[in-house]
Amino acid sequence: MLKIWSMKKDQAAAEKKKPKVTAAHIRLQKDMGELQLDRNTTMSFPDPKDRLNFVVAYRPPTGIYRGGEFKFTFAVSQNYPHEAPKVLCTQKIYHPNIDTEGHVCLNILREDWKPVLNIKSIIFGLQMLFLAPNPEDPLNKEAAEHMFNNRGDFEMAVSRTMNGGFLHNIHYDNVHYRD
C-alpha cells in the first residue's frame, strides 16, 4: 500500500515538473507541422526540452551573402501568436537591415506582426533579407549608405567581413561553413 502511495506521489511530482503545454506551445507545434524547410535552412533546439527557443540557420544559395551560414535565435513568448517571436542574428555581420548587435529590421517582426503569421513567414522574411538586402529600410545606416552609393565596393566589403576581419574598426564574424 505504502509503496503504491509513494509511487503515485512520484508520478504527481513528475507531472508537475513537465512543462505545461500552453496555447503558445500548441500553436507553435502547428507552425512546425506546416513548416517545410528548404535544403538551405536548418532548425535546431539547443535545449530539446524547451520548444519555445530555437535556432534557425540559413545558407543563401545566391546573392552577395552566398557562402555564409547565418544563424538566428528565435525566442517565442507565451503570448505567441499575439506577440511576434524575438529574433536575433547571433553573428556580427555587415548588412543594411541587421545591425552589429544582431537586431533585425523586418517589418513583420515589428509593427506589421499579426497573429495569422507564423514561423514560416518569419523564416521567409529572413531569407529575403539575404537574397534582397534593402538599403531603403536600414538598421545599419552605414552599410545601407555604402550599398546605395557604391554597390561594387559594398559587395567587396560584405565578402571581406564574411571572412571575419575588421571594417572601420569593427570586427565581424567569419560566417563561412564547412560541409
Binding site: 496555447a23 500548441i26 500553436r27 517589418n107 499579426k114 513567414s121 529575403m128
Partner: protein, 109 residues
C-alpha cells in the same frame, strides 16, 4: 484608402515586401514549396487563423468543444474564434485591426 486587402499583404507600406513580391515573380525555385503557400490574406476556411485550431473545435483557452466558444465575423468577412480575436484586440500592437488584413476591426452584425 480604397486599397483592398490583397494589395497590401503586409499592412503598411514596406519596400522590403514589394521587393519580396517581385522576387517571387522573377524566380521559380521548385524546392520552395513553402513559398508557394505564402499567402497572407487568404483565410483558410476550416481553421482559425490565430490559433490554427479547426473552427469546429474550441480555442486553446477553452477545454471542451461545445463549450461556450463562439465564432466571430468581421465586416471584412474574416472569421475567428471569438476568444482568439478578443485576445488579439486586447494587445496594444493589434491597434484594433483585423489579424488578417490589418483593417480596423468591425464586427459584422
Amino acid at each position: 484608402m480604397a486599397q483592398t486587402p490583397n494589395q497590401r499583404p503586409f499592412g503598411s507600406a514596406s519596400s522590403l515586401v514589394s521587393l519580396c513580391n517581385i522576387f517571387i515573380m522573377k524566380v521559380k525555385i521548385k524546392d520552395w514549396k513553402a513559398v508557394a503557400g505564402w499567402r497572407w490574406d487568404v483565410p483558410d476556411d476550416d481553421v482559425c487563423g490565430i490559433c490554427r485550431a479547426p473552427f469546429d473545435a474550441c480555442c486553446p483557452s477553452c477545454k471542451i468543444p461545445g463549450d461556450d466558444c463562439p465564432l466571430i465575423w468581421g465586416e471584412c468577412t474574416h472569421v475567428f474564434h471569438m476568444h482568439c480575436l478578443l485576445k488579439w484586440l486586447g494587445t496594444e500592437s493589434s491597434q484594433q485591426q483585423c489579424p488578417m488584413d490589418r483593417r480596423p476591426w468591425v464586427t459584422a452584425s
